[in-house]
Amino acid sequence: MSLSEIHFHAPRSEPLDNARLRSLIDLDHGLIDRRIFWDQALYELELERIFARCWLFICHESQIPNKGDFVATSMGEDPVIACCGDDGNIRVLLNSCPHRGNRVCFADEGNTRQFVCNYHGWSFARDGSLLGMHEEGRYRECVGFEKKDWGLHKAKVATYKGLVFATFDQEAGSLDDYLGDFRWYLDVLLDNDPGGTEFIGGSLTSQIKSNWKLPAENFAGDAYHAGWTHNSAAQAMLGASVSTPQGETFHVNVNGHGWEFALDGVGNVATFSDRTALRYVRSRQAEIIKRLGEVRTKMVGAISSANVFPNFSFLPGHSTFRVWQPKGPHKTEVRVWALVNKNAPPEVKEAYRKGVMITFSPTGVFECDDGENWEHATNVNSGFVTRQRKLHYGLGMGSDVDHEELKGNVSAGMISDTNQRAFYAEWLRLMTQEGQMS
């Protein structure tokens, strides 16, 4: 019996009303219930109340620049296709034929004139509209059938500086409102050069037997683990242990999105053995100061990590971007990309490509120790007694500060659980459908 089958036999105790949900997240005491990483019913509610409502990362515009270009991905467990239409607009279409449900796209990426279902030949245009079907004559006799009603279901799409997001919630507020002041931080990577950014070609996909929230919260705020989990990788890449950053360090969060960072400017990018990317970041500092100011310039390559709620994470400096796609309460699909400035010289892009591969990818020397931590933090909760124990998320309580420049909720010290608590506050707000974004 696989791990993902075991939960069907676990007794379900209380119903998942708001009182029950609130009991899982105790932010006043920094305690979190392990059930949120294990329980199937909670997971199903996440698919409905988080993944069907939030703005979710889809792709970078640079991946689908031409008419008919597409990439396949998912929103929660809903498979979708992002396609550049004949009008140049990007649409995100449900990858499921409205006739009998089969997928209409089986490739990860490519260029197509239409999406045709392999089952009955229903054919859909690049904008998702139904073009026609096999034996179409019979449908002309079908009373009440109108082709315009049977296109591929569409998500609402918006972009922020090259990043494409989508939501299935047609009543959702704007992407700008969803990101809020976190955009000020995103500009550190997305807008430090006037030419904008692109993803280096290709992506790497793997599966880990972990709940999706463990890696997402890790990227939102877990600077703490780096010195212990990644010591062997630091020895390999730097010849030394992970150093404690000197100077001020912070957790910042907005609407559940989190970014933890030092202001050392180059701490993350320095872990590439090749110094090309490090020299590139240093050489551009004066120019970036004019564009973004001193504080954000110090964030560009710094020791840091970030997560856009719910499941889109990245490491500034390493420039590795990823989504943690939920595939059940105990399984997550990880898809990894690398972001570079469009104007960066070819040798710099190559340095980032190789740097991401050797540090943070399925073969990355840093990443290969993370997966085990998250898998065991998930599967240990199959034990009934284990599952009753609360987890400690209380580090850094009371460390909120006012900062003249940093936006959002700011707290001092990167060795903290502040952003993780903010992540779960937003999780709880959406799950209980209560309260405003913070």
């Binding site: 004139r113 045709v116 030949g121 096999h134």
Partner: protein
Amino acid sequence: MALQNSTRPKKNKKDKEMTVFLCKFSDMFAGESRKFTFTNRPPIALFRLEDGYFATDDTCTHAAGSLSEGFIEGDCVVCPVHPGEFDIRTGRAQCFPAEKDLAVYSLRIADDQIFLDIEV
């Protein structure tokens, strides 16, 4: 791209056969296609290839795709609905799901004008 063009056919002496003016020779460039609709018969697609003009039925024999909105690849047209292909010159169906050949029509060129002889 298809250009819908309704024309009133000019009756000639032969029973039920018409000569229809379509366009001037210089109106279309190689790789372009247009659709012509009629009141009493299905539409016609006109294609210009490197070496001249060719006319076929516009409606794909598989489903209801308009071939004048399809994609010209060499001497073939690919239906925009499903990737069935037809030889533009002969109308012959080339691959699944196109299995039945297209009707093709003769064209006459006179004084830089292209005429189509069809039955209505």
